[in-house]
Amino acid sequence: MTTELLAPPERNYLSAGYTARSWLLTVDHKRIAILYMVSITLFFFVGGAAAVLFRLELMTPEGDLVISETYNKLFTLHGIVMIFLFLIPAVPAVLGNFLVPLMIGARDLAFPRINLLSWYLFMLGGALVMWSTFVGGVDTGWTFYTPYSSTYANTNVMLAALGAFVTGFSSILTGLNFIVTVHTMRAPGLRWFRLPLFIWAHYATSLIMILGTPVVAAAIFLVALERGLGIGIFDPKLGGDPLLFQHLFWFYSHPAVYIMVLPSMGVVSEIIACFSRKRIFGYRFVAMSSMAIAVIGFFVWGHHMFVSGQSVYAGLVFSFLSMLVAIPSAIKVFNWTATMHKGHVWLSTPMLYALGFIGLFTMGGLTGLFLATVAVDVHVHDTYFVVAHFHYIMVGGSVMGYLGGLHFWWPKITGRMYPEWWGRFSAVLVFFGFNLTFFPQFVVGYLGMPRRYHTYPEEFQIYNVMSTAGASILGVAYLIPLIYFIWSLKYGPRATANPWDARGLEWEAASPPITQNFETTPIVTTDAYPYAEDEQRTEETLLV
């Protein structure tokens, strides 16, 4: 089992077995990460195809490409697939799964079999959602609002809701695994404030996963009871309150936005530090701001309900609390920017994605303030303004972070380098395509175009045409990495253990790592990110 440290090891986790069985029954966190990567990529393109279809429909004010029912099913499919089957697992289940044990010097996650179980649950949930689509689709929107979902919709709500329910458990198990792993399995010397910010972000994310997900699971469970057995918890005909569902739903689904974006923030912290060759400025503040976002995230869900019939008092309370999320977010953005100051900045592909993330997240976060501002939200609520805002966070933020991370750790995951020129080209293309798609939606949203509209008044057409044009660019920009990543598996140059000369325990392992990650358990003696300039002052991480 002995291998050279820097040369590609003969026996790495990829070469540990080639049979289907060796993949489907693996308990290796790295292999499970690959399973997740393949699955979410499939789901991403399913959700993307739905988006392309309804964006084409929206080119014209009339409903001429598809009928209303189909349109509604398309945006529901897009929402459910992208949120439950792509964004929520994207960074945590792929990069997190792969890197959390590596970064803390552990041989695996605390519960490897539960980790595999979580992938199977995820696939089961995904299969249920796909099944619901193939037998006719669902038209409730991903929000499943009652009483439409529980009583009025005559589509396959049960299947899709069950799918969301099951993927929820997959997400809970992932979060549970991360928390226990970070608590119990850190390498000797790896104190809390020596952890990479990626770990902090995943720890904060896991907190939301375990405390938030069960609530939405219960809400969906109650909708299923109401639909299937006539046990009417939200039924207005019995005096039930449809807003109760919204409370339970948003208690999870607002923090869920942070499940999607916090891990990407962790990724961005790693990339910025590496390609500025500097320690993250204000490390402790960035770490704590992740925790603050996770905690404050639980106190703000009512801003989704400002015009729902919630009390005026509650509206003001939630408005105030929602404002507070701006502070940790601002701290992060400023600290990332300051990290570049006096660094050695290299605009590689991951860095371009990371910088794109900062810019788009800044816009997404600031426009979020409009929605926390109760008087403005009354006007823009449920309009394209909201659609634009959350796409800036989820696509401009999460997906940029995911792609950046994928490029950054691609050599570690596969042992191969991707083509740098194509990487930069697609990163720039994603940025422009994204802005062309979603910026016009801010404008048309403020003009009053409601979301989830199949047809719309003519004066909104120009913005929708721009948006559709951008979406087609974005679609192409997402296909390019798919192609060159696959290409690089065979033709990419071999990667060394640390092609970026980055810091962090994962770069001490071979590329790709061996099954048990490290030959011997590493011992940590320095703080995170001991980059070049710091080398005079601190000892380098040692492999003992």
Partner: protein, 322 residues
């Protein structure tokens, strides 16, 4: 309404301008910080490019004072936003004492509106300018949302419980009415218009004794209640064509005939089951209680104006006789 590229919808209510003012303040903040971050990133990326020579004397890893500023400045700005918006919101959610109350019922996929004077409308709301209006809204089925962009006003309409929305229109004209909460298949067709009128014109309108002839209002009613969905002159109409029906003799299912005069038409509108025309089924809903006498008069006036079809392919259409 459609005058090209604009950044905000028309300001047609009392709070619209104040919402826009806050909005543009936020746009300013957003632009400022976005530009700041972009400029900083590009400055650093260029100035400290890895191949460039630059002063890189090590700065501290963290600096409490800057962190504190980065926390306090955003906090101060968002508190301004919060305070400002709270004032507008609380003001907007209070109903002025002299407000008139108009009932709104949301139903898949239409808005039914009931004026206190007894006037009813579908998908159109007429309001007088300058008069505070309170909408008392409820849904018949799922959650809808009553949204008037020009008023910067929106409120969900819930089943089983009233919600309220107040506004004072400030500018005569026609504005969009949208359903903003997804409510099922034809959600995007649940649109309508808000007609803001000068108080005098509104008073005439609400009394129904406008200067315009009754058939104009009748035509509107005819369209609002979608009568022409069934009562049209094309082949396969589910209900008898009404063109030129007035004054003719109509054959009924029970073998009798009746002259289509005002009282016959009135009865057939309010209680269609009373006389079924030969060859048709009793498919028309009951409008008793839905339509006032005024409405019926206007509808009849409109029906009288409908032109007789040139050729009637239906054998049972006795009314083709002059």
């Amino acid at each position: 309404m459609n005058d090209g590229f604009r950044l905000h919808p028309e300001q047609a209510s009392e709070i619209a301008a104040s919402v826009d003012a806050l909005y543009f303040f936020q746009v300013g903040v957003t632009v400022f910080f976005t530009v700041l971050i972009f400029v900083l990133i590009w400055t650093f990326a260029l100035k400290y490019g890895r191949a460039r020579k630059a002063d890189r004397i090590l700065p501290p890893h963290e600096f409490w004072a800057t962190e504190l500023i980065w926390a306090i400045v955003p906090f101060a700005i968002v508190m301004i936003m919060f305070g400002w918006s709270a004032v507008i919101f609380v003001r907007g959610s209070q109903t002025p004492p002299n407000a008139i109350t108009i009932d709104v019922i949301g139903k898949q996929w239409m808005w039914r509106i009931y004026h206190p004077e007894g006037k009813r409308e579908i998908n159109t709301l007429h309001v007088p300018v300058g008069q505070p209006v309170r909408l008392r809204m409820i849904s018949d089925d799922v959650i809808h949302s009553f949204y008037i962009p020009a008023f910067r006003a929106k409120m969900d309409v819930l089943p089983g419980r009233h919600t309220f929305m107040s506004f004072t229109a400030t500018k005569p004209g026609e504005y969009h009415l949208f359903c903003a909460e997804y409510c099922g298949t034809q959600h995007s067709f649940m649109r309508g218009r808000i007609v803001v009128m000068e108080p005098g014109v509104f008073a005439d309108w609400i009394r129904g004794s406008t200067d315009e002839p009754p058939e104009v209002a009748g035509k509107q009613l005819f369209e609002q209640f979608r009568c022409n969905n069934c009562h049209h002159n094309n082949p396969g109409a589910r209900c008898p064509p009404l063109g030129g029906i007035y004054g003719t003799t109509v054959a009924l299912q029970d073998g009798t005939t009746v002259t289509a005069d005002e009282s016959y038409l009135r009865e057939s509108i309010l209680n269609p089951a009373a006389h079924i025309v030969a060859g048709y089924k009793n498919e028309m809903p009951l409008y008793l209680g839905q339509l006032g006498e005024e409405d019926v008069l206007q509808l009849i006036a409109y029906i009288k104006t409908l032109p007789s079809p040139d050729a009637t392919p239906r054998s049972e259409a006795e009314n083709s006789k002059p």
